[in-house]
């Protein structure tokens, strides 16, 4: 993060991209996001993480709900399930329970996750189902052209809150921590290298991993979560942050004015598959 970037030449970059192997994970469909959208980094980050982790396309399923971020599976050369608004997590649960050998990556936006899909997050987290949930938070409904979302700040003006938004925003990091997610981290779309690192760590974690990505909507938010505002406020978690310290993670998550990037909390515990295998072992013992 925060390093001074060297000049980049197109030829070098092309060669680098082609030789990296990342393109094998990309489909031939071009992303449909607006120029400047933070979501482009999902495709880049997931492709790189899959390359580095040596994942096979045929054994990976990208699952999403509905929203701008949820178009993601179409841009990947993996198996994909573009489901219904808010329902990516239960669909992913079904896929993972049916075949535990698959790597399941769920991508969604803030409305998809915390408004219509809010009921599913606690249960995916507490069950510690071994999937990765990458949540792109831009604090606005983009696909329906600019309405308030559960993470919009108070005072935010949108087409459905033309005077002001009066609802207090949720704090997703604190929610996920309290739900029992076994891996919780935050990244920023304006820091793509760090974001990619975080995606890779999230996928590598055994259990339910939640990556919160602050990602500006360049089209429908000119005042709140902009690159300019976020760029001035985000900072890394302190170097001595202890990822096994739940109370420290909760304390860090409270600081929404100066969002901190990095792994808040990480703890291995039995996954849903471990639990179901235990049930099967006990049931078979009764036969």
């Amino acid at each position: 993060m925060m390093n001074i970037h060297q000049p980049v030449y197109l030829e070098d970059k092309l060669e680098e991209v082609e030789s990296s192997g990342k393109l094998a994970y990309r489909s031939q469909t071009l992303p449909t996001w607006c120029p400047g959208c933070g979501y482009f980094s999902i495709v880049e980050g997931v492709s790189k993480a899959m390359t580095d982790l040596g994942l096979n396309q045929k054994d990976t399923v990208c699952v999403s709900g509905i929203g701008c971020a949820s178009r993601f599976p179409f841009f990947m050369n993996t198996f994909g399930f573009h489901s219904l608004h808010g329902r990516a997590l239960p669909v992913a649960t079904g896929i993972k329970v049916a075949n535990d050998d698959l790597t399941v990556i769920v991508v969604g936006g803030d409305g998809d996750a915390f408004a219509i899909g809010g009921a599913h997050i606690p249960h995916a987290a507490r069950r510690n189902i071994d999937i990765t949930y990458i949540l792109f938070d831009n604090g606005v409904y983009g696909l329906t052209k600019g309405q308030t979302s559960p993470t919009s700040i108070v005072g935010f003006k949108t087409t459905t809150t033309p005077y002001l938004n009066v609802d207090q925003p949720l704090n997703p990091l604190m929610m996920l921590l309290s739900y029992g997610a076994s891996w919780v981290a935050q990244a920023y779309a304006g820091e793509p290298h760090h974001l990619t690192e975080m995606i890779e760590a999230a996928v590598a974690h055994r259990g339910f991993s939640y990556l919160h990505v602050l990602s500006p909507c360049v089209t429908f938010d000119k005042t709140s979560m902009t690159y300019k505002n976020l760029g001035m406020t985000v900072r890394p978690l302190p170097g001595d942050h202890d990822t096994s310290d739940f109370a420290a993670a909760m304390a860090a998550a409270q600081n929404t004015d100066l969002p901190q990037l990095g792994v808040y909390f990480a703890k291995e515990r039995p996954t849903l598959a471990d639990g179901l295998n235990e049930i099967a072992a006990r049931a078979e013992a009764t036969v």
Partner: protein, 602 residues
Amino acid sequence: MAKNAKQRTDIQIAICGSAGDGTIAAGDILKQAMAKAGYNVIAFDVYPPEIRGFGKCIARARITSEQVYSLKSESDCLVSLDDSHAIPHVPEVCKYGTVIYEDTPMSEMAEGTHISSHLASAQLPYGVAFREISERVTSSARSRNIVAVGYLAGLYDMPAEIFHQVIGRKFSGKPKELTDSVLSAFDAGFQTGAETFRLHFDRIGASRSKSKQSDLVMMSGNAATVRGCLDAGIDTFFGYPITPATTIMEMLAREMPKRGARLLQTEDEISAIAATLGAGYAGARAATATSGPGLALMSEMMGLGAMAELPAVAFVSQRGGPSTGMPTKTEQSDLNLAVFGVAGDGQRIILAPTNVEGCYKCAGKAFEMAEKYQTPVIVLLDLYLSNRYEAVELPVENPFSENCSKPVKKKPGKTKYSRFKLTSDGISPRAIPGDEDCMHTVTGLEHNEQGRPNDQPEIHQIMSAKRHEKLLTAVKHPGITISKRFGDKGKVDVGILGWGSTFGEILEAMIEARKEGIRCSAMKVVMLSPLPLGPIHAFMDDCGEVLVPELNYEAQFAALVTGATGRPVHRLNRVTGTPMRVREILAEIRRLAGQTEMIAAE
């Protein structure tokens, strides 16, 4: 007359008490024992939504030597464990029928509160000191329900040793002292019953003919559904508790892990069906079970299943509606929701078994169909079918196919896999995650053959046709009867078109009508979507009048048939929360037959 004389048996016993009296348990022992003794049994319990709270419980069992199709409107015997609940049911006891009751109440009763003062002159009263007997042999009044079962068995000359076996199995795992105490309560009741002076026709007659005795099992509709799931090789089940479907999940929760299959109780019905579709997408045989309110929550996902062409099986046991309605009362009013409850044109397959054996077949076949036609399949049950017990004969050989999926044929060279390839029958070869070179994304958006979002006019037209036409082949799916005609062949005065649990009452009414000389036949329709229009048209061609009896107010099936065939039908609708009465259907058949005669005379 002795019991080994070849006298036909057809007695219906109703045990009525208050929640907590052990009414349902008493009924359970009775029906299990009589089925074990070789009789046909159809049984159905009515109970309140509350666990205690003094609600009314009635356990009814019809015990016969011949095959019958429903409970009778009248019972031959009523056992009262609670007079205040049982008194309104005295009129359901037939002429010369038996009423068994507690004759030594604990305290003085106000005039008119004891059941004995409500009996008709032709009903036979049998007063027994249930409580005293229970206290005498078990030093507790709690076994009075068992004493009552024992008395009933003794009075009707039923085989005591089989009751012993059933009680022993019911209490296996409990302390031996408890089992012994229950058995002694039964024996004391049995002895009292056996020593009672009674009229000969109170004794039970012959059991089933010997040839069919061996392979019959007593089970409920929900248990048969579970057996169907297991025999079809269910891999995953996701569900959320709701009456009357909960017992399906409870039974599967015990059985599936023994076979390495996986079951998860989800946070709501939406996640239950979402996970079921996810598992189906990943190649599993996946199912969920719910009731009407749950199906309402699932309808958006059902549309996704239709659009993304994913297999899923949903067992929907109907109850009284709308809304929370009557959770422990039966109704057939979720047909419209099952058939039409979806955004857009999202047709799916709907199967509605008419009896317990049908539950088994439809359950297993639903997995085959979901897999073959790549679509959600709803198996529509109702409380009367889910909780009804019948002695059924299950096939010795597993009748269900292990894999019905249309495989992807690997071609050498680089042919890009198209998940939604247009084919002559509308069914595309299906790949699942893990299959080499078959990566694709499924979506609820309209899409082209590759699965890419596409809303071009011709694409939506062609893909809509594909999704509907593939279902038409399901009407010819092998190994399942999707419609069947019973009764008189050829032209008839009255034809009865029925579906679901009510078809038992329809058959009984049709048999009675034919005895009266009315030319009459009945057709059951098991596949409600897509409708088997060929057989329905042929049947209606033969019928002077068509009657559609069903347990809903809006005549949902009648409207469905009329809409599909353009022909009018006569409707008979009841929403009493109880099964339809045979005599009500019979009265309507007589009325319609009379009409036909008048028209013929003109």
